[in-house]
């Protein structure tokens, strides 16, 4: 807005409400959690104020490192799978005429309104042994006996890709819809087949956006709880499940807090990278 005015006392007061709410109900809890990571754990599921680094040293234990690495690994693969499917899909979407374009977009975005627990449950049925894909294949005579594909790594991967998919499209769509159609047409008049055009022109131009989408999905799936909890065995649990588990069932809040700190730093770093890419893209325009 041009010509912004200097704030009056009243406007400061108005601002005080949201800032106050955020300070009390977001910053304070966050800081309390930071503090809790240094507290001492007592048996019975409680903790008392203190200062010790026991929770942080536990971070270097094999169990946490293993969980963390697995979390990162599965998120990376899910992000790659998601972007690989979403990018060409979104590209074609932006080239469609208005009607199918809008219909498909609404369909994909509707998936955003699905709860993670629903997605987890649905995929557990699809990949299960009772009423899923393998049952259809048995019914069609292509398979001997029904097999369960969940819980398992592939199941978690599919679930994560599913919930991340609409967000991935949300990130890719604005830039892809702004892609100058004539640039692809120019490549074609120079002898490039549609596939070659896609490979040597569209993808290179879109590279920053693809990167941003990848990172965003990565962060998003890192924070997922239910998919891993429903579709994965304990060895497939992500960090979020581990943290939540420690905080509730194992009642080790200090350790959970310490892990949450690590996750915070990691997430903020990744989000920072995405913002950097987006600002570079905007500056280039």
């Amino acid at each position: 807005m041009s010509g912004r005015r200097r704030p009056s006392v009243r406007s400061y007061l108005v601002l005080a409400f949201p800032v106050g709410m955020l300070a009390i109900f977001f910053l304070t809890p966050f800081l309390m959690m930071v503090a809790a990571s240094f507290y001492r754990r007592i048996s019975g599921g409680f903790y008392e104020p203190g200062f010790e680094l026991a929770s942080y040293t536990r971070l270097f234990s094999g169990l946490f490192v293993e969980r963390a690495l697995f979390s990162i690994w599965v998120s990376l693969v899910a992000a790659a799978a998601c972007v690989t499917l979403a990018f060409p899909f979104t590209y074609f979407l932006t080239q469609m005429r208005r009607r199918p374009h809008v219909v498909l977009l609404v369909l994909v975005m509707s998936a955003l309104s699905l709860s993670e627990v629903i997605v987890g449950f649905s995929w557990s049925v699809v990949l299960g042994r009772a009423a899923g894909i393998s049952n259809i294949l048995v019914w069609l005579g292509l398979m001997g006996e029904a097999q369960p594909y969940q819980p398992g790594f592939i199941a978690v991967l599919l679930g994560l890709s599913y919930i991340a998919f609409p967000y991935c499209i949300l990130t890719l769509y604005p830039q892809l819809s702004r892609l100058d159609r004539e640039v692809s047409e120019a490549a074609q008049t120079l002898g490039a087949s549609p596939w070659r055009t896609f490979r040597t022109v569209v993808i290179p131009i879109m590279r920053p956006t693809i990167m941003a989408a990848f990172l965003l999905v990565f962060v998003f799936t890192l924070g997922s709880y239910l998919i891993a909890a429903i579709l994965g065995r304990p060895e497939h649990w992500t960090l979020s499940v581990f943290i939540s588990d420690q905080a509730s069932f194992n009642a080790n809040v200090p350790f959970a807090s310490a892990m949450a700190m690590v996750l915070t730093v990691l997430s903020l770093g990744l989000v920072g990278m995405v913002l950097l890419i987006e600002s570079k893209t905007r500056r280039a325009e």
């Binding site: 807005m1 010509g3 912004r4 005015r5 200097r6 704030p7 406007s11 108005v14 409400f17 949201p18 955020l22 109900f25 977001f26 910053l27 304070t28 809890p29 309390m32 060409p88 899909f89 932006t94 080239q95 005429r97 208005r98 498909l104 977009l105 609404v106 994909v108 975005m109 509707s110 309104s113 699905l114 709860s115 993670e116 629903i118 997605v119 449950f121 649905s122 995929w123 557990s124 699809v126 299960g128 009772a130 009423a131 899923g132 599913y162 819809s177 702004r178 962060v219 709880y225 239910l226 909890a229 979020s240 943290i243 939540s244 905080a247 509730s248 809040v253 807090s257 949450a260 997430s267």
Partner: protein
């Protein structure tokens, strides 16, 4: 090339719809066990949702939390978006970052923080905890939608009102606020749907005493399958997608997603 385009679109649609379709089929199966092919057609399990007080109260609780939580989210976002966009406030990037931060972090972090907080003030296991936690966590959405609306607001409009004698408060009430209502509704709808769907914050904050719908579904999954879960799922999907459709109808969905209007016009 055209064939590839169609194949990809079909694949994606199948990928998105398949799980939901399967659950819908399971929900109308009269048999108590999950089997395929389904034995018949029955709406018995849908009736169970109503009959079973556990499910009914879980749905009620979720709706209450979503209604109140989304309202709180908008109540937080509106003054912030307005003041930060209408006035030159020092520390604007910082304050705006504070507003965005809850949503940028993995939810388990906010959930754990909230748990520590409410335990610390000894206000445990109450529904208000969840409402407040959701209100804060989802305030980012209306913050973004209202800020965007403020950005596209023609600055000449409030100025014109003022030249006609309206003081700042009246200007806001009669000119700015009505123009912001669509973005408020969009933000509300988004926060509502997400609150309805949310698990981990609700669980860590008051999960053992306030059983929301997602919590109940998840718990039920652990205890073994009943087709009622499938029926609930279908109802849940219907509820959420209706709200979303209203949201899509109300606002120009494509513009909201960032499409360039000029490009849209070209594609007849």
């Amino acid at each position: 090339m055209r064939a590839l385009r169609v194949v990809l679109a079909v694949l994606v649609v199948m990928f998105l719809v398949a799980p939901l379709l399967v659950v819908a089929i399971v929900s109308i199966n009269p048999s108590r066990y999950m089997d395929f092919p389904p034995g018949g057609f029955s709406l018995h399990w849908y009736g169970q949702i109503w009959a079973d007080t556990g499910w009914r109260s879980a749905i009620e609780r979720s709706l209450i939390i979503a209604t109140a939580g989304a309202a709180l989210a908008v109540a937080i976002a509106l003054p912030m978006a307005y003041v930060l966009r209408a006035y030159r406030v020092r520390l604007t990037p910082l304050l705006y970052g504070l507003g965005i931060l809850p949503f940028m972090l993995p939810p388990v972090i906010s959930a754990l923080g909230a748990q520590v907080f409410w335990n610390g003030v000894n206000h445990i296991g109450r529904i208000e905890n969840v409402i407040v936690a959701h209100g804060i966590f989802f305030s980012t959405l209306p913050l973004i939608t209202i800020s965007l609306a403020m950005d596209t607001l023609d600055p000449a409009l409030p100025e014109a009102a003022q030249t006609m004698g309206a003081n700042p408060r009246k200007t806001f009430r009669t000119v700015t606020f009505p123009l912001l209502v669509p973005s408020m509704i969009t933000g509300y709808a988004a926060a509502f749907v997400l609150s309805l769907n949310e698990y981990i914050i609700a669980f860590l904050v008051a999960g053992f005493s306030v059983e929301t719908l997602p919590i109940k579904i998840f718990n039920s999954l652990r205890y073994g399958f009943t087709p009622t879960i499938a029926a609930v799922t279908v109802v849940f999907i219907g509820l959420a997608t209706s709200v979303f459709s209203l949201f899509a109808l109300f606002g120009n969905l494509l513009r909201f997603l960032g499409a360039d209007p000029a490009v849209l016009e070209r594609q007849r």
